[in-house]
């Protein structure tokens, strides 16, 4: 986008403890570095500000546990960030105190994503989560009280020890809280990690069930009035949301192939045909700032073909038609015909949309569709 990136991502890596399955860039402890880190973030923002559009569509604070950041530093950061149509902050339920909710609200945050994962105490323990189910409920209500009326809950399924009945209960609990948005992810445990080692056999058993889990998730949430707008993301339909379009603007930016700037350790940016990733080391990030340098980055140049491939890969995750014009020859039209004939895709008016069955088989369908 020649007019500048309209999406800004900020990474806050601090966590109280590390959950077994986590593969984000996080650091435990270092409470004394919060200030220095925010300095560095704002420093990087100054350096790259010229890449941003005058008006932003979204700002997103992710982590780590952004809400674990020292309150005054978090405030300082939020105040310094440019305004946007949607400002999202990720939160762990147990950190959402009334005063935090108020802090967020007065600093322009209008959307909060709460890492609930599950409402089952035993399963929370498996995931090493600190929050209890009630913490989620409190968090949801406190945010509403503070005037933040766009709340998202994260759920994970396929947890070792989880039964299909457990999942149904989690979905019901989540729906009962009437969040504006729900994300439901399958647990991804990387091979070779402590977590996989500890839960190996059970993870395999869960893998067998994942088929029915995702069907269950889609069925129950759509029955409860949510729109399945992306493979793992649901939002309340406008008629139950005061006419609002509650899809996550920031993430839509990714899925629609928009440019985005990322700040902080391990953050990724994509501007036109360049993608860079900041080095994941906190120490080096701070040192670069202290030395007046840009953060260390790994650069990737994207060819037109790669950009187009990504457009297809990401676009097919959505429930909206993907226009084929401008995608060159990355799409195999014969494969598209076969998929359409097989009831997995609809090809109409120069665009392709996957059917529900096709969306569930999205990985395979995407692979086949790409020439």
């Amino acid at each position: 986008m020649p007019d500048g990136a309209r999406h800004l991502y900020v990474h806050l890596p601090f966590c109280a403890s590390r959950c077994g399955y986590c593969d984000f860039v996080t650091v435990v402890g270092h409470a004394d570095r919060h200030g220095a880190y925010v300095d560095a973030l704002l420093g990087e923002l100054e350096l790259e500000r010229h890449l941003l559009a005058p008006e932003l569509e979204s700002v997103y604070l992710g982590g780590g546990t952004p809400t674990l950041t020292a309150a005054d530093q978090l405030e300082r950061l939020l105040a310094a960030l440019p305004p946007a149509r949607e400002v999202t902050v990720e939160a762990n339920p147990e950190t959402v105190t009334p005063s935090l909710a108020a802090l967020l609200s007065r600093n322009g945050v209008d959307r909060v994503s709460i890492g609930a994962q599950t409402f089952n105490t035993a399963l929370l323990a498996v995931l090493d989560r600190r929050a209890r189910p009630d913490d989620v409920r409190h968090a949801v209500h406190r945010l509403a009280d503070a005037g933040i009326d766009n709340r998202s809950l994260d759920l994970i399924y396929g947890i070792p020890g989880q039964t299909p009945a457990d999942l149904v209960r989690d979905l019901d609990e989540a729906v009962a809280l009437e969040p504006e948005h729900i994300s439901a992810y399958e647990l991804e445990a990387k091979p070779g990690t402590r977590f996989t080692h500890a839960h190996g056999a059970e993870l395999l058993r869960q893998a067998d069930r994942l088929e029915s889990y995702i069907e269950q998730v889609v069925e129950r949430l759509t029955a409860a009035g949510y729109r399945w707008y992306e493979t793992a993301n649901f939002c309340r339909l406008p008629d139950r949301a005061g006419g609002r379009d509650l899809r996550a603007r920031h993430n839509l930016g990714y899925w629609l192939g928009h440019d985005y700037l990322g700040l902080g350790v391990g953050a990724v940016s994509t501007i036109e045909n360049r993608r860079w990733r900041n080095a994941p080391s906190l120490h080096r990030y701070l040192a670069a700032h202290a030395g007046g340098r840009r953060p260390e980055r790994e650069l990737e140049l994207l060819s037109t073909g790669e950009r187009a491939t990504e457009r297809v890969m990401l676009g097919l995750r959505l429930d909206e038609p993907l226009a084929l014009a401008g995608l060159g020859d990355v799409v195999d039209s014969e494969a598209l015909d076969r998929l359409a004939a097989g009831g997995l895709a609809v090809h109409r008016a120069g665009a392709v949309t996957l059917t529900p069955r096709g969306r569930l088989l999205g990985g395979g369908v995407t692979a086949r569709l790409l020439a």
């Binding site: 088929e211 793992a232 990724v268 569930l360 088989l361 990985g363 369908v365 692979a367």
Partner: protein, 596 residues
């Protein structure tokens, strides 16, 4: 050397009865090779042979003993190489028939003895390994004498290992084996009993001169093929090649032809001189027919040219290897190869893998069938997929199996043969303990694991040999395997109708386990003609989503997709179904089984 002082002989025996050791000892005793130069079993020139303890190539060596010239022609000792044995025997007047004093007569002793007798050779019976504590020289001598219709007193008793009695063997060769009786003055004729290819010197012919004289630099002609060439060099082996100015009637030696294409010279043909051409050729050999076939495919399809070149080179030294290009929709481009038997197939496969460094897929071996399609003439079929759906008649090759086994295992052996559609032919006692059984069996029933079964059921004591016994009608059908409704040619089988259901079911089940779930149900079926005899289904996946994907995940997910895409290119598409190479291999491949 005048013919009266020449003796041409072979040593024939069952495997491991001491043929090669005896040959070594003869070389030593006649000072052909000094003790220092001696390497055990020196005549075996390939590593493979040394490993397996068998000889593959026939070669000849000239030795001297008490004023006589003795030409020892080494012969392979295994059932598959009856052809090779026969070729060498035609160059001889006599043969040492060697029997292990502890083992007695075994299947190949019989087979080779009959071959020698068929070729009108004078047989000198020898009992070997008399030094072993468990040896029973008298018993073995009696068996051998009985076999050839001679007196037990005429059977020589030796230990090739220690050398005891070997000089008496050499004496016996001189005394009992007749001298060759060709005509010295007649136009030259020599029988080509073997050939090999040397990359520098071209085709080398091993010859037995029957009439006349051959000299180097003469213009020679192969009488049947018509090939003309100049003899670059002629000589004899002792065992190194030694050039001479003449090879005379009765002598055995080699001719370096300078020919670059081994197909220009055929074993069994007669060589004569252009200037004084013989009128008629010597009686040659029949062409051998391959009886066991298997598909050979490179694991990496890029290696196809290498496989083709390797087969060409192998054939130069192995005239019995037969191959033709074959395309399998499952395995790509490869070859259908014909072998004399299972051992021949094994040897070829190992040579391809070891000498040419090829990674191969070997499909299950099958035999040749003869079929008379409706209203057409009889044709031979080498691949199961080629058997037509309907035909008037079909025939399969049969063998006569000769099994020697201790009497306590007779029941096991008979059960095995009966399971394999065998019909009992004959039983006789070779001694109080040992029985000789003959059965007629379809060749198809022994190509896979009959020999292994035989050995394991008899705790290794059985010995086995077979002769082809012609084609017979069979109640056979082609079983096809269909994936997604389409037949997979590489998996077709020709089976006796009684076994069609069981085998078909087993194959279908195996394939079901190997084919990964797809986006739709996959039917796997076994069929005979239009009739489905077994069926399994690989149920469709319901879920195959790419996991969460946000800004930092995009590159990784894209690369994963690209990798999956590349992986899918290696899959075979059958009936719209993606089948990984591994699935076919699991069902077809013998390589892993063979390597055990």
């Amino acid at each position: 050397m005048d013919q009266s002082h020449i003796r041409n002989f072979s040593i024939i025996a069952h495997i491991d009865h001491g043929k090669s050791t005896l040959a070594d000892r003869i070389l030593q005793l006649t000072d052909t090779v000094s003790a220092r130069e001696m390497r055990d079993q020196m005549l075996d020139s390939m590593e493979l042979e040394r490993e397996r303890g068998i000889t593959i190539k026939a070669q000849a060596v000239r030795v001297h003993w008490k004023g006589h010239e003795l030409n020892l022609i080494d012969t392979p000792g295994h059932v598959d190489f009856t052809y090779e044995v026969s070729r060498s025997l035609q160059a001889c007047e006599g043969a040492l028939l060697v029997v292990d004093a502890a083992q007695g007569i075994e299947a190949q002793t019989l087979a080779n003895a009959y071959l020698a007798i068929e070729n009108n050779l004078e047989i000198v019976p020898v009992v070997n390994k008399i030094d072993l504590p468990q040896a029973d020289p008298d018993g073995a001598a009696a068996e051998v004498a009985d076999l050839i219709g001679d007196d037990a007193a005429n059977v020589l008793r030796i230990s090739a290992k220690t050398g005891q009695g070997v000089d008496a063997v050499l004496d016996a060769i001189v005394e009992r084996i007749p001298a060759p009786a060709g005509e010295f003055d007649a136009p030259p004729r020599a029988l080509i009993f073997d050939s090999s290819y040397d990359q520098y010197r071209g085709v080398v012919a091993f010859v037995r001169v029957v009439d006349g004289v051959f000299r180097p630099r003469e213009h020679l002609r192969a009488m049947a093929l018509g090939t003309r060439f100049e003899a670059q060099e002629i000589g004899y082996m002792s065992p190194a090649m030694r050039p001479v100015q003449e090879l005379q009637a009765g002598e055995v030696g080699y001719v370096i032809t300078g020919l670059k294409d081994v197909s220009e010279l055929r074993v069994g043909d007669t060589l004569t001189a252009e200037k004084r051409a013989a009128a008629a050729p010597l009686p040659g050999y029949k062409d051998v027919k391959p009886m066991v076939f298997a598909g050979l495919f490179p694991t990496e399809s890029d290696d196809y040219p290498e496989l083709r070149d390797a087969l060409e080179k192998l054939k130069l030294n192995d005239a019995a290897l037969f191959y033709e290009p074959e395309t399998s929709q499952a395995l790509g481009f490869g070859f259908r190869c014909g072998f004399l038997g299972l051992l021949h197939m094994e040897i070829v496969r190992e040579r391809l893998e070891r000498e040419f460094d090829l990674d191969l897929i070997v499909t299950a071996p099958n035999v040749a069938y003869r079929v008379k399609p409706l209203n057409e003439e009889w044709v031979e079929v080498h691949t199961p997929a080629d058997l037509p759906d309907s035909f008037d008649e079909v025939e399969e090759p049969y063998i006569k199996a000769s099994i020697i086994v201790p009497k306590e295992f007779v029941g096991q052996v008979m059960e095995l043969c009966n399971d394999r559609r065998g019909s009992f032919d004959h039983l006789e006692y070779l001694s109080e303990q040992r029985v000789h059984l003959t059965y007629e069996l379809p060749l198809a029933e022994i190509v896979l694991d009959y020999y292994d079964q035989l050995k394991s059921r008899t705790r290794g004591y059985a010995s086995f040999d077979y002769d082809l016994a012609g084609f017979r009608p069979g109640n056979l059908a082609r079983v096809d395997i269909l994936v997604g409704g389409e037949p997979v040619d590489a998996l077709s089988l020709i089976l006796h109708r009684d076994f069609a259901y069981e085998r078909g079911k087993a194959l279908v089940e195996k394939l079901r386990q190997e084919i990964p779930r797809q986006m739709f149900d996959v039917a796997i079926q076994a069929a005979v003609g239009a009739r489905i005899i077994a069926r399994e289904t690989v149920k469709a996946r319901r879920k195959d989503v790419l996991a969460k994907c946000y800004g930092g995940d995009i590159t990784r997910k894209r690369k994963l997709l690209e990798k999956q895409k590349a992986g899918k290119k290696r899959m075979k598409q059958v009936g719209g179904v993606e089948v990984p190479q591994e699935a076919f291999l699991a069902v077809l491949n013998l390589n892993d089984v063979a390597k055990r």
